[in-house]
Structure formats: C-alpha cells, structure tokens
C-alpha cells in the first residue's frame, strides 16, 4: 500500500476523503495525467497508468459534454459488478485537479459524491498560493548518470 502525495497539502484532504467515504483507491491527478496524490496503489507504475487513463477519460468526457451540452461534464460514474469508479474535477487556486476513486460495497455512489463535495472544499482550503517551485539541482554529471541508466535499461551496459 502506498500513501503518497507530491505536495504535502494534498495529503490531509485526500486521507480524510478515503477515511470518510470508505473507498478502496483514490488518486488525485493533474489534468495532464501527472499523479498528485494517491492512496491504495501498490506500484508507482500502476499509478501512472491509472493517471494517464483517468486524465484521458476525464478530458474526453469533458469534450463530449461540450459537444452534446455546450459545457463539459464534470463527473463520471461507472458501475462494475463488484467495483465502481467515480471521476470528477475539483478546482483550487493551484488550478484544476481530477479525483479518480474506486469503491466497492463498503461505500456507495451517494457517499462518494457527498464526501467528494467535502473534499472539494477541503482541498481548495488547503491549497496554498502557488509559488514558483524550486527546480531540482541535478549535479554536473547528471548526463553521465542518465546515459549509464539508459544503457542499463536497454541492456547495453
């Protein structure tokens, strides 16, 4: 189980949503498909795939909403046999984010929607004013490290 967030202010609202709504997985992502925070996944690679797909689903359903209704659909619910998925957008002063959550019989769509409404407020309140992020100081040899890593990755080392 991984509980992680890219920025600390995301952790508390996301954890509270998970606790309150009793969901199995929760993933907060940037509309570009980058993971911002997550609960319940075990592999970082799975998180990235889920983010890419969730961003795609959200973006395409937004577009579909634009074409059908003249405004984007803001939430999506898919009910599987045992598990259900809910994807919706939330706005903060840091910009929009997308929540993907998976739940089973321990929760319900009603609970998820209700606690998502609280999550939106909590996340918006927690979001600090955006400041230019410090850039990572990669050392002078990073190109050599990159080349070595890529060579290992491709079996050329």
């Amino acid at each position: 189980m991984i509980k992680a967030s890219v920025e600390p202010w995301i952790e508390a609202p996301l954890q509270q949503f998970v606790d309150d709504a009793g969901v199995v997985l929760a993933l907060l992502l940037h509309p570009s498909g980058q993971v911002m925070g997550q609960y319940g996944f075990t592999r970082a690679m799975d998180v990235m795939s889920a983010c890419a797909l969730a961003a795609a689903i959200h973006l395409s359903s937004s577009e579909l909403g634009m074409q059908l209704e003249g405004k984007p659909f803001t939430g999506l619910h898919h009910a599987g046999k045992d598990r259900q998925v809910f994807i919706a957008e939330t706005e903060t002063r840091r910009g929009p984010y997308i929540l993907l959550t998976v739940f089973d019989g321990e929760s319900s769509l009603g609970l998820v929607r209700m606690f998502f409404d609280e999550f939106r407020v909590n996340l918006a309140n927690a979001a600090p004013v955006p400041v230019p992020a410090p850039h990572p100081m990669l050392n002078e040899n990073f190109e050599r490290e990159l080349n070595r890593n890529l060579a290992v990755l491709f079996g050329r080392a």
Binding site: G105, S107, S108, L109, G110, L111, R113, M114
Partner: protein
C-alpha cells in the same frame, strides 16, 4: 406527477416531530424521492442512512440473525428510522420528541404496501 412514494412520504411528514422522509436507492445511497423540511440535506441523509442500513444488514447476516427489518439510530439531537429491502429503503428523520412507535408502524405498513 406523483410516484408510488409520494403519498407514503407525505403521510410521514404529517407526523409530529418528523423533519424529513425519503425513499432511497439501497445500492447507491441516492434519494429517489424526498420530503424535506428546511435545513434538511436530503443528499446526506440518503447516503448515510443507506450506508448504515447496509452495514446493519451485513452485520445481522454475519451474526446469524437473518434478515433485517426496522432500524432506529438515536442521537442527542435527532433520530433516524428506516426500513427497506434490496432496492429501496424508506428513511424518516425525526427530532428527539418524534413518536418512534408510530413511525415504526407506518414504515412497516408502507413497506408492505410497496412490496
């Protein structure tokens, strides 16, 4: 336009101390129809009541007690009464002075009528 629930919910609302009555989807926890006094949040009541009822049903089954009927949650400033099946749960929100006996009888009668 009235649904099968309209008359049932209206009857609850006429009872003393009743602040809300709802027909809720048991699977989703979403209100199908509701009769709410000002200040009552039907979305919340529906989601939370359905979840509580589902939990009690599961617990009763796990404890070997069989199927679940009437349920009452009593709190300092109000009470929730409910009764339902696999599809629909009828939920009544009352203040502490509400007559639980009457609500219970009415819920049982309504559930029989819906069945």
């Amino acid at each position: 336009m009235s649904s099968p629930f309209t008359a049932i919910l209206d009857a609850f609302s006429r009872q003393r101390g009743v602040q809300a009555s709802l027909a809720v989807s048991a699977r989703d926890g979403i209100a199908i129809e509701s009769n709410l006094q000002i200040g009552q949040d039907g979305t919340r009541v529906a989601a939370l009541a359905a979840s509580l009822y589902a939990k009690a049903r599961k617990a009763a089954t796990a404890a070997g007690l069989g199927s679940t009927g009437f349920l009452q949650l009593e709190a300092e400033a109000g009470r929730l009464c409910m009764l339902g099946g696999d599809d629909v749960i009828l939920v009544v929100v009352g203040d502490p002075q509400a007559n639980v006996g009457l609500i219970r009888m009415e819920l049982i009668r309504a559930a029989e009528a819906l069945a």
